[in-house]
C-alpha cells in the first residue's frame, strides 16, 4: 500500500472514531437512593384505631402531630392522601382521599376536583400548634377551570400554598396553617413544611398535620 493510501486509510479510521467513548450512562456506577423501608400492613380506612400503624410516609413528630412525606415527582399522576385514613397514600381514584398532590399542584376532594365535599381555609402566619379557633366561614374548595388561563385544570383552592423564587427556582411554603374539613367531616389542620427532601429532590412534599377538635389521632 502506498503512503497516500495508508494516509487515507488513517483518515478514514479517525473519522469513525467518535463513538469510541462507550455510553457513559452504562459505565457509570450510579449513586442509588436509599432502600425503601418495608411496606407496613394495610390500613383499614374506616378505622381510627391507634393500634393500626400509620401509613407509609407518615411519622409522629409530637403527641398528636404527624409528618407526612409525599413523593409527588410524577408530572402526570396524582398522589392522593387520606387524612382520615392515617395518611394513607394512593392513586386519586377512590372517594376517601382528602388532598392530592402532583408536583406543586394540590387538589382537594371537593368542587371541581371531587365529590368528597372537602373544604379548606388558610390562616396566614399562624403555626399548626398555635391555631386557636379558626374562622367558621371563608372555606373554599376547588373551582371549575377558568378558560383564560389555558391550563385546563380546576382552580385549586390550595394553589397558593407556596412562594416561588424566580431566580433560584425554589419553592417555599407560605407561613400559615390550612384548616381542612375532610370527607368524613373531621377538621384537620395542616402546614406545609417543605417542597424538597433531604437529598434536595423537588416535589417530595412534606407537611405536618393534626386534628383540630378534638386533638386526637388520625
Amino acid at each position: 500500500m502506498s503512503l497516500p493510501h495508508r494516509l487515507l486509510a488513517a483518515c478514514a479510521a479517525l473519522a469513525v472514531l467518535p463513538g469510541c467513548v462507550q455510553d457513559l450512562a452504562l459505565l457509570h456506577h450510579w449513586d442509588d437512593a436509599p432502600a425503601t423501608p418495608p411496606t407496613p400492613p394495610a390500613v383499614d380506612p374506616d378505622t381510627s384505631d391507634t393500634a393500626v400503624p400509620l401509613a407509609t410516609g407518615t411519622t409522629e413528630i409530637a403527641a398528636g402531630v404527624w409528618s407526612t412525606e409525599v413523593d409527588a415527582t410524577d408530572a402526570v399522576a396524582w398522589v392522593a392522601v387520606d387524612l382520615d385514613g392515617r395518611g394513607e397514600q394512593g392513586p386519586r381514584d377512590g372517594s376517601d382521599w382528602d388532598v392530592a398532590l402532583r408536583r406543586y399542584d394540590v387538589a382537594v376532594n371537593g368542587g371541581a376536583s371531587g365529590d368528597g365535599g372537602v373544604e379548606v381555609l388558610f390562616v396566614p402566619d399562624v403555626s399548626l400548634t398555635d391555631l386557636g379557633t379558626p374562622p367558621s366561614s371563608g372555606f373554599t374548595t376547588d373551582a371549575p377551570d377558568v378558560p383564560d388561563d389555558d391550563d385546563e385544570e380546576p382552580e385549586h383552592a390550595m394553589a397558593d400554598w407556596y412562594a416561588y423564587d424566580s431566580t433560584s427556582h425554589v419553592l417555599t411554603p407560605h407561613p400559615g396553617t390550612w384548616v381542612i374539613r375532610s370527607t368524613r367531616g373531621r377538621t384537620w389542620v395542616l402546614a406545609f413544611h417543605s417542597y424538597y427532601d433531604d437529598a434536595g429532590t423537588s416535589a417530595v412534599v412534606t407537611f405536618h398535620w393534626t386534628e383540630l377538635t378534638p386533638r386526637g389521632t388520625p
Binding site: L3, P4, L7, L8, A10, C11, A12, L14, A15, V16, L17, P18, G19, C20, V21, D23, L24, A25, H28, W30, D31, D32, A33, P34, T73, R103, Y104, D105, D151, A159, Y162, A163, Y164, D165, S166, T167, S168, H169, V170, L171, Y195, Y196, D197, D198, A199, G200, T201, S202, A203, V204
Partner: protein, 636 residues
C-alpha cells in the same frame, strides 16, 4: 506562496506589516486567508486582520486558545458553565464564526464554543477578523471570524516534544513528527492534557470548573503533484472527559460526568492553470458527540443522562482570478447539518444550505508607495429552514508607505440553531422548562468598521479600530410563563441591540524590550429593555512586555485590567431585574524561559494576583507551571 498571492502582492506598491501584533521572531511576511478566502499578504487585506503566528503562540506560554486570546484588545473571554466563551466587539458568543482550516466548528452549547478545548499544539496561525464577515462566510459571522489554521509540515524531517506541569493538577504533553519533501509532506501530532476541578465557593459542594482529561491526534498530508497544483488532506480526533459536582439551591447535590468527542476530516485541492487564476475545492466532514450525565447523591429523581450528536458536511468550490486591477473571488458553499439529541422535542434536526458569494478587490488607484482598494462583496444563502438571506458588504482600504486606512460597511446574519428551534428541556431539580421555537427568524445586523494603522518606524506601530453595529431580531429567552411552580421559557425574536466601540493598540520595541499596550472601549444597549447588554466589559486595558536577556533568557509579562461588568438579576424576587456589578478585575501573567538549539525550558505563573473569583465572573485561580519544549529539524 501561491501564484495568486504573488500576483496580488505585486499589485501593492509597498509592503505593509503594521497589523503584526506581537512577539519577536516573526516571519518576514505573513500571509492570511480569512479576509478574502484566498491567500493574501497581511498588509494587502481589504479588511483588518489580527494575526497570531506560531512564534507569537509559542512566546505567549499559553496552552489553549482561550488563554491565548484573553489578553487581546477587543476580545473578551469569559469562563462560563459551558466553557470559555468569546465575545468580539461586544457581540454574543454565537455571533463569532469559528473555523478550523475553513471548516466550521461544531459543539456550540448555549451558543458557546468552548475555546479551552482547542489546545495550541497543532495550531500554526490564528487569524481574527472583527466585524461583519457574512458576505464571505454566511451565517454566524456577525461579530467576526476566528480562523484556526493548523500546522502543516515543511520539507525535511522535524520532531517536537512539549511537556508542561503545574498546580491545579495541570499537565500538558504534546508530540509531533513531520516529514516530507517538495512533492509530499506529512505531519502527525498527538496531545494529552489534564487538570483538576476548581472551586471558588467553598460554601457549597459544587465545583466551579470540572476536572478534565483530553487526548487528541491529528494527521495532515500535502501533495504537490505539479508546481501549479496541490492536494491537502487532514483528519483529527479529540476526546475530552469532564468530571465535576453540581448543586442546586434546593440542596440537591449531583456528580456530573461528560465526554466530548470531536472528529474532523477534510480534503482540499487547488490548481493554478495560469498566473492569474486559481481554482480550489474542498470537502469536509465533522462529527461531534457530547455525552453528559448527572447523578444525584442519595436520590435518583434528578438523575439524567443525555447524548447529543452533531454531523456536518461542507463543500466549497472557489475561483480566484486577477483581471487587470480586479482580484475577483467567486464561490459556492454547500452545507448539510444534522443533530440527534435527547433534549430536542423531535430528537432530530437537519438542515441544508447553499451559499453563493462574490468579492472584487478593485485597485481603483495606485501610486509609488500605496494604493486605494474598493472591495464590494455579497453572499446569498438559501437555507432549507428559513429561506434566503442576502448579506452585502462594501469595504475600502487606502494603503500608503506607513499608513493604512480601512473602512467597511456590511450586514451579517445568524441562522437560529437547532437548540433555539427545537429544544425541549425540563430541569426537574429546580422546576423550569426551556422550549425551542420553530418559527424563529434569522438574526440580522448592520455594521460599520474602520481602522487606522500606523508604522512610522520599524520599531513602533499603532492601530485603532472603531466599530458600530445594530442587531435586530436578536434571539433570546422571552418572558417566562409561570404555571404553578414551573417557569416555561421559550426562544423568541424579541430584541434589538446596538454596540459601538474602539480598540487601540500600540507597540514599541525600544532595545531588547517589546512592549504592547491596548485599550478597548465598548458601549452597548439592549433597545427592548433599555439597558446595557449584560456581561460586557465597558473599558479594558491590556499590556504585554517581553525582554530578551543575556544567556538566551527571555522574560514576558502581560496584564489585563477590566472595568466592572454589569449583570441583571432578580435578586429580591420581585419580578424586576436589578443591576449587579462585578468588581473591576486585574489579571497578571508572567513567564520566563531559556531557549537555545531547539531546547526551551520555561516556568511561569498565570493569574499571579489570583483575582476574578466571583460567581458572575469566575476566572481560573493562580496557576504555577514549568515545562520543556524540544524541537529537532533536518532540512532536505
Amino acid at each position: 506562496m501561491t501564484v495568486l498571492a504573488i500576483a496580488t502582492a505585486a499589485l501593492a506598491a509597498a509592503p505593509s506589516e503594521t497589523s503584526e501584533p506581537d512577539e519577536a521572531d516573526e516571519p518576514v511576511e505573513v500571509v492570511v486567508v480569512t479576509a478574502s478566502r484566498s491567500e493574501t499578504r497581511l498588509g494587502d487585506t481589504p479588511v483588518a486582520v489580527e494575526v497570531l503566528t506560531r512564534a507569537a503562540i509559542e512566546a505567549s506560554g499559553s496552552e489553549t486558545l482561550a488563554e491565548l486570546l484573553e489578553e487581546r484588545p477587543g476580545i473578551q473571554i469569559e469562563d462560563t458553565v459551558v466553557g470559555s466563551a468569546v465575545r468580539l466587539q461586544g457581540m454574543n458568543p454565537e455571533h463569532t464564526l469559528i473555523l478550523v482550516d475553513g471548516q466550521r466548528v461544531l459543539g456550540r452549547k448555549d451558543g458557546v464554543v468552548d475555546l479551552s478545548r482547542f489546545t495550541l499544539d497543532a495550531i500554526e496561525q490564528i487569524e481574527i477578523v472583527k466585524g461583519p464577515s457574512s458576505a464571505l462566510y454566511g451565517s454566524d459571522a456577525m461579530g467576526g471570524v476566528i480562523h484556526i489554521r493548523t500546522r502543516r509540515a515543511r520539507p525535511g524531517v522535524s520532531a517536537g516534544l512539549h511537556m508542561r506541569s503545574g498546580t491545579l493538577a495541570r499537565n500538558d504533553a504534546a508530540a509531533d513528527l513531520e516529514l516530507g519533501d517538495e512533492r509530499s509532506r506529512h505531519r502527525i501530532g498527538v496531545g494529552w492534557h489534564s487538570g483538576s476541578a476548581w472551586d471558588l465557593d467553598p460554601g457549597d459542594p459544587a465545583t466551579t470548573a470540572s476536572a478534565f482529561q483530553q487526548i487528541q491526534a491529528e494527521i495532515t498530508s500535502t501533495f504537490r503533484p505539479a508546481a501549479d497544483a496541490s492536494v491537502d488532506a487532514s483528519a483529527s480526533y479529540l476526546q475530552r472527559r469532564l468530571q465535576g459536582v453540581d448543586s442546586t439551591a434546593t440542596g440537591a447535590v449531583s456528580d456530573t460526568r461528560g465526554a466530548i468527542e470531536d472528529a474532523r476530516a477534510a480534503v482540499g485541492a487547488w490548481w493554478t492553470p495560469d498566473a492569474r487564476t486559481k481554482v480550489s475545492a474542498r470537502l469536509s466532514g465533522s462529527l461531534y458527540r457530547a455525552q453528559h450525565l448527572s447523578d444525584q447523591r442519595r436520590a435518583d429523581a434528578n438523575d439524567s443522562a443525555s447524548t447529543d450528536t452533531e454531523r456536518l458536511v461542507e463543500s466549497s468550490v472557489q475561483l480566484d482570478r486577477i483581471e487587470g486591477d480586479h482580484a475577483l473571488t467567486l464561490g459556492v458553499d454547500g452545507l448539510a447539518q444534522g443533530i440527534d439529541s435527547d433534549r430536542l422535542g423531535s430528537s432530530k434536526g437537519s438542515r441544508r444550505r447553499i451559499g453563493v458569494f462574490a468579492q472584487d478587490v478593485w485597485t481603483a488607484h495606485s501610486w509609488e508607495h500605496g494604493r486605494l482598494m474598493v472591495v464590494p462583496g455579497a453572499r446569498f444563502d438559501g437555507d432549507s429552514q428559513f429561506g434566503p438571506a442576502v448579506t452585502p458588504r462594501l469595504a475600502g482600504a487606502l494603503t500608503a508607505r506607513r499608513v493604512t486606512v480601512r473602512l467597511s460597511a456590511g450586514t451579517g446574519y445568524r441562522a437560529p440553531d437547532f437548540r433555539e428551534l427545537y429544544l425541549l428541556f425540563e430541569n426537574p431539580g429546580v422546576g423550569y422548562v426551556v422550549a425551542g421555537n420553530p418559527d424563529l427568524r434569522p438574526e440580522m445586523s448592520a455594521q460599520v468598521n474602520g481602522s487606522l494603522e500606523l508604522a512610522p518606524s520599524e520599531r513602533f506601530s499603532a492601530s485603532a479600530q472603531v466599530h458600530g453595529a445594530r442587531i435586530r431580531d436578536l434571539i433570546a429567552i422571552g418572558t417566562p410563563e409561570i404555571t404553578g411552580g414551573t417557569e416555561r421559557f421559550a426562544y423568541e425574536n424579541i430584541e434589538s441591540a446596538v454596540t459601538a466601540g474602539v480598540d487601540v493598540q500600540v507597540r514599541g520595541r525600544p532595545g531588547p524590550v517589546d512592549l504592547t499596550l491596548g485599550y478597548a472601549a465598548l458601549v452597548t444597549r439592549d433597545l427592548g429593555l433599555d439597558r446595557p447588554l449584560e456581561g460586557r466589559v465597558p473599558h479594558r486595558i491590556t499590556g504585554a512586555a517581553a525582554v530578551e536577556l543575556p544567556l538566551a533568557l527571555r522574560a514576558r509579562a502581560q496584564v489585563g485590567v477590566a472595568s466592572p461588568r454589569t449583570f441583571f438579576v432578580d435578586a429580591d424576587g420581585d419580578g424586576t431585574d436589578e443591576a449587579v456589578k462585578t468588581a473591576s478585575q486585574v489579571t497578571l501573567d508572567a513567564r520566563a524561559s531559556w531557549k537555545r538549539d531547539g531546547v526551551e525550558v520555561f516556568a511561569g505563573v498565570d493569574n499571579v494576583l489570583d483575582t476574578g473569583s466571583t460567581e458572575l465572573a469566575p476566572t481560573t485561580p493562580r496557576l504555577l507551571y514549568a515545562g520543556l519544549t524540544l524541537r529537532t529539524r533536518r532540512d532536505r
